[in-house]
């Protein structure tokens, strides 16, 4: 039953993607509410899915890779809905929808939704740690999206080849300001997420801890370099993409090792 909500949600994101592509191709794109509403509706369906699944499991629904991917997609949509209107970045929704579609589509198609034989009882610290870390990943995903937009715009300016999308993307300065703010938010949430992991009462696999701290150090280094003005905005944007790619690999690894160790 809850799977239908997920399919409906994926359809909403697909509509947002198709709508953006068509409008950009015909040159009729205007920063209207359509994408925001489509993503908002998709988010509601995602929430309904997670709520039903959570009730069935009696816990936060992040027990297997399928649920983790859906929860991550939910986080990305949530962060977009929170920061999108505030940052007023044209086309951000148009870039967010494909990522969510990709994450959710992959979760739906790949055989990831296997029942997880959890042997350790979940506690509130563990759930807080896992869910907050995933929300932090959602913020890093938005920073990655802003990074992609920055590089796309920068490339056009550098090569003097201005395509139709050039006139719809936000200015470089605004994108860089958004990247910086998103990195700080993501880093703060991730820090709290990691620290809360030490209060779970369960010994976490060493490899998980090392990988999570490595990712934390990577983002700390990016922010430090940004703060000290050691890095040009273009490199910060590129590092946001690298950082989120690393986060995705790490997420896969953590979920995989958790399943091996029968952790929630």
């Amino acid at each position: 039953m809850e799977r239908y909500f997920l399919i409906a949600s994926t359809f909403c994101f697909l509509v947002a993607v198709v709508h953006t592509v068509i409008e950009l191709r015909t040159g009729m794109f205007r920063p209207k509410r359509f994408n925001f509403l489509a993503i908002g509706l998709g988010f509601l369906f995602q929430t309904a899915f997670l709520w039903i699944r959570g009730h069935e499991l009696g816990r936060c629904p992040i027990t297997n890779l399928f649920e983790v991917f859906v929860f991550l997609a939910w986080s990305v949509a949530l962060v977009y809905l929170l920061v999108g209107p505030a940052y007023r970045l044209s086309l951000m929704g148009g870039f967010t929808a494909p990522l969510v579609l990709l994450l959710q589509g992959f979760a739906l198609i790949a055989p990831l939704d296997t029942p997880h034989s959890v042997t350790v009882r979940a506690n509130s610290w563990l759930e807080f740690h896992a869910s907050l870390s995933l929300v932090a990943y959602g913020v890093f995903a938005l920073a990655c999206i802003a990074g992609v937009m920055y590089l796309l715009q920068e490339r056009q300016l550098k090569t003097h080849q201005l395509h139709s999308i050039f006139y719809h993307l936000p200015p470089l300065t605004n994108l860089f300001a958004a990247i910086t703010r998103l990195l700080w938010w993501g880093f703060a949430l991730y820090t709290v997420g990691i620290v809360s992991g030490f209060f779970t009462g369960h010994p976490l696999p060493r490899i998980q801890v090392i990988a999570a701290v490595a990712l934390w150090l990577l983002y700390a280094a990016i922010l430090q370099a940004r703060h000290l003005k050691w890095l040009a905005p273009k490199r910060v944007a590129a590092l946001c993409i690298i950082g989120f790619s690393a986060a995705l690999v790490l997420l896969w690894g953590i979920t995989f090792t958790a399943e091996l160790h029968h952790l929630p």
Partner: protein
């Protein structure tokens, strides 16, 4: 009731011919002399057009005689340059004109203001009645819709506007940008004014002649910088606009690169409109530097025009919908007026009943 448009434009006549028709005629005089119920005269540097509504047939020659400034000239010899559109063709033509589709620079917005001004002038003089009122109000609505729903007005097509557009795509609001103008020529003055009009406040002007620098600085509300100090400004500024008469490049990667280390987190936009160029092309390879010389600015303008041309079909589709809708609504009005004679007696013009 016949609606028509008679005129000439850059498509059909050169400027010398257009000048002959842009005489002293007014909408009021045309309505009176040609015997039109309503008339409106649209005169711009690229077109002279008369929009009229008449119960009787008004010939192109009659309108030409009303327009032509030289009384001794035979208007028949100019007849081929004049075009004539009637009824739905006339409606379509006006919608295209107001939307900038018929302009020399496709999508330009100046024509919209000129059409509004022409309408206001004709309305004030009493030459515009309900038909032209309704037609022009619809034309303004269509023009706005075309601009809002297509990219027809996107992109800049002149040096000044390209510079401003690019600067805005890099920095967003220009009010906090620091601009150095190197060389105080006419083009740089125009471009500087375009930047000032978009909010630039911190302006520095440097020129070999300090007096000329002071003169321009005063004109645009900036401050003059001695020519020997201009390079050091590159540590602070966001936009460099250069147009000196130097034979060799003034700014090279070797000069700029060490300064960029001190401003790694900020972009530098360089507009080099000098020929020969003031800035070595290799500067564009430096990180965070966006160099546009006169050729690349022209290329951007060309791309913008191409982008606008690609939008013409979408704009034409919007216009076609409005033409059909407008003609239908007018026909419905005429039918209603003919079915209720007591209503048509409200005015001389049967259309008037439907407009009231």
């Amino acid at each position: 009731m016949n609606l028509f448009c008679i005129g000439l434009s850059h498509h059909t006549a050169n400027v010398a011919t257009r000048e002959q028709f842009a005489g002293n005629a007014t909408a009021e005089s045309i309505a009176r002399d040609a015997g039109c119920a309503e008339a409106l005269l649209l005169t711009t540097c690229n077109r002279v057009e008369v929009y009229g509504v008449s119960n009787k047939g008004v010939s192109t020659d009659e309108i030409a005689r009303c327009l032509i400034s030289d009384a001794n000239r035979n208007p028949d010899s100019d007849a081929p340059v004049l075009y004539r559109y009637e009824d739905n063709k006339c409606v379509q033509h006006l919608f295209r004109v107001a939307s900038g589709l018929d302009s020399m620079v496709v999508g330009e917005s100046e024509i919209f203001g000129q059409a509004k001004k022409a309408y206001e002038s004709a309305r004030t003089s009493g030459a515009v009645g309900p038909y032209l009122h309704r037609l022009f109000q619809r034309a303004f609505r269509v023009a706005k819709q075309v601009r809002t729903h297509t990219d027809i007005a996107r992109g800049a097509v002149s040096v000044g506007s390209v510079a401003v557009e690019l600067a805005q795509r890099i920095f967003g609001k220009l009010s906090k940008c620091k601009v150095l103008v190197l060389g105080a020529g006419e083009t740089s003055e125009r471009t500087t004014r375009a930047l000032v009009s978009r909010g630039v406040r911190d302006l520095r002007v440097s020129n070999r002649s300090l007096d000329r620098a002071r003169e321009l600085a005063q004109a645009v509300g900036g401050r003059a910088v001695p020519f020997e100090d201009w390079a050091a400004q590159c540590r602070e500024i966001d936009i460099l606009l250069t147009s000196t008469a130097s034979e060799a490049p003034l700014l090279t990667s070797e000069i700029l690169a060490p300064m960029l280390w001190q401003r790694l987190d900020r972009s530098l936009f360089i507009i080099d409109i000098a020929v020969p160029r003031d800035v070595d092309p290799s500067v564009n390879e430096l990180e965070g530097v966006y160099l546009y010389d006169i050729d690349s600015i022209r290329s951007v303008a060309e791309q913008s025009l191409e982008l606008r041309r690609q939008q013409v079909a979408a704009a034409e589709a919007i216009i076609a919908d409005h033409v059909t809708e407008f003609i239908d609504s007018i026909s419905r009005g005429l039918n209603r007026a003919s079915q209720t004679p007591e209503q048509s007696s409200l005015g001389e013009n049967p259309l008037r009943a439907s407009e009231l």
